[in-house]
Amino acid sequence: MNALLVSAILGVLLMLSSVFIKNRSYIHALALAGLATLFALNLAELNGWLLFEIDVKGMLRFDRYALVMNAIMLASLFFYLLLSGNAMEKVGPHYADYLALLFFICAGLFMVTGYASLLILFLGIEVISIPLYILTGSDKRNLKSNEAALKYFLLGSFSTGLLLLGIAFFYGARGNFTATVSVDPTVVGSSLQLAGLLLLLFAMSFKVSVAPFHFWTPDVYDGAPTVFTSFMATIVKVALFAAFVRLFEDTFSLQFSIWQPWVAGFVVITLLIGNLTAVFQQSVKRMLAYSSIAQAGFMLLAVYAINGDSKEGLLLYAASYSLATIGIFAVLTYMQDYAFEGFNGLAKKQPLVAASLAIFFLSLAGIPLTGGFLAKLFMIKAALAYQLWLAIVAVIMAVISVFYYFRVIQAMYFRDNTQSISPEFPKAFSILLLITALIVVLLGILPEAILGLLYF
């Protein structure tokens, strides 16, 4: 609640800041300071301290899980701004506006992690989506960016329609929008609620890019300015997953046996399509887009297996996946083009960057001693409580993911640079990247650092 309100205020502040502050680094600093404040306020709320005492009238509910998730997102966002702030300037002249939109999105993120009414969920999703449409198209001269924006907008609006139809059915069955479980027998078995459930499932699947509702993802991620792709693919996706879990854990827990097989099916299709398609990509950026679909398949296991393991796993996933992906995209913004060949021989020229990237990719692939491994471990463990075959499919797909993640590692470490140009990275950037990588490793060694927040 603290963070939600303050982030909106910060958004307004940054929106206006461009009028008063001409130096971009000050704006950047302001944004970072704002984020730090948000983070502090969020932690304060974790300890029970609220900035405003507001009667939310059952619209919002910030429980511990939501707050921890927010903390993770804010921390990721902090690293994101540190690593990619520079790249944001290259997109266009409206630096402060981009930041303002980011903070508005932030408010949306907090809405979807802490909603208690489907209305807030809907509003939150829209608060996230509408600025994202704009950020996707923010590279106005770039036709790919334009195209991505329109595709994202049209498909996103379409899915909003599905979401609303689902909510309408839900309302028809229940008479309210409260996102809690209903034990009313006329509600539990009603086909209206069932239809609403399925439509909500489709709409949420769309938002978190779960197959077969993922089609927008590769095109949009590819077309959007890299720095915003990074944001979309990580923090936003994580928040929406939190919302997804919350919706099906609370509201539809009694229909568990109905939707669980469908989610399992979606997991399989998502993993298959995401991983298999990623194998054949020629551009690292597009490969990452598909890989984010594949990772979504893994995160969907958290929905599938609503249990302690899966929720802990989602937290770890949020942290490790976000940090690793943010790091990779941050490096990508420095590259000439996004072909795999661009990474050839990077290890010899930029050992720190290469090592960090290697750790990020290892984490994404789920190699032990990285956060990504433990995250996957939790997910598989959670799934194993129900179905062995699903766990087996998941790990096989994790192995397939090695196919494409390791292409970059191979390029960096095992191939020689044949081109004369090689990307230059500022020293501070390299060190920051390494710190990010070390955090990813730390997550794999001491996950208690994050999971502890849930219980203490």
């Binding site: 958004g11 929106m15 303002a100 209305l119």
Partner: protein, 166 residues
């Protein structure tokens, strides 16, 4: 057949027909016009359902503001002729069939649904009155109401950001 039933049928047929025309019109301008007709028909339904305020808002906001915006953009782009080439035949067919299938499936699924009240009693109650709505909006729904301001802010920033020529 009561007057309300007659009105219902008339409005329904009008809505469906005009909606179909939106989809099938070759000329974008016609589509816009038909959509406005649809909105009017829906507003009529709102009145039948005792949602007077929404009916009015629907006409002002949708039929008025939003559709004018559409019209304006279409005019701006000089799309006011039957310029759109037809889609691939089978794609159209597949689209129609899929949409139809969706309709059929949903209707079939919900055909026997247990509704809490079978009949909609027309012209009864005061739910749709502006006063009731206003009171509720600024008490229970004050949080979403305030939060939607963020939406507008960001939409505003975004529209400026995108629309500005630099």
């Amino acid at each position: 057949m009561s007057i309300s039933a007659i009105l219902f049928w008339v409005l329904s047929v009008a809505a469906l027909f005009s909606a179909l025309m939106v989809v099938t019109s070759r000329n974008p301008i016609h589509s816009v016009i038909w959509l406005i007709v649809t909105f009017f028909a829906i507003s009529g339904h709102y009145i039948l359902l005792n949602a007077q305020f929404l009916a009015v808002v629907n006409i002002i906001v949708y039929a008025g503001a939003i559709m004018v915006l559409f019209l304006f953009v279409i005019m701006l782009m000089n799309l006011n002729k039957e310029s759109e080439p037809a889609r691939h035949r089978w794609l159209q067919l597949a689209g129609g069939v899929s949409g139809g299938a969706l309709l059929l499936v949903l209707v079939a699924a919900l055909k026997d649904t247990e509704l809490k009240s079978q009949q909609s009693l027309l012209l009864e109650g005061h739910t749709g009155l502006i006063k009731t709505l206003g009171q509720e909006l600024f008490s229970t729904y004050v949080i979403p109401f305030e939060l939607s301001s963020i939406l507008f802010l960001s939409a505003m920033v975004g529209a400026v950001l995108i629309g500005k020529k630099d």
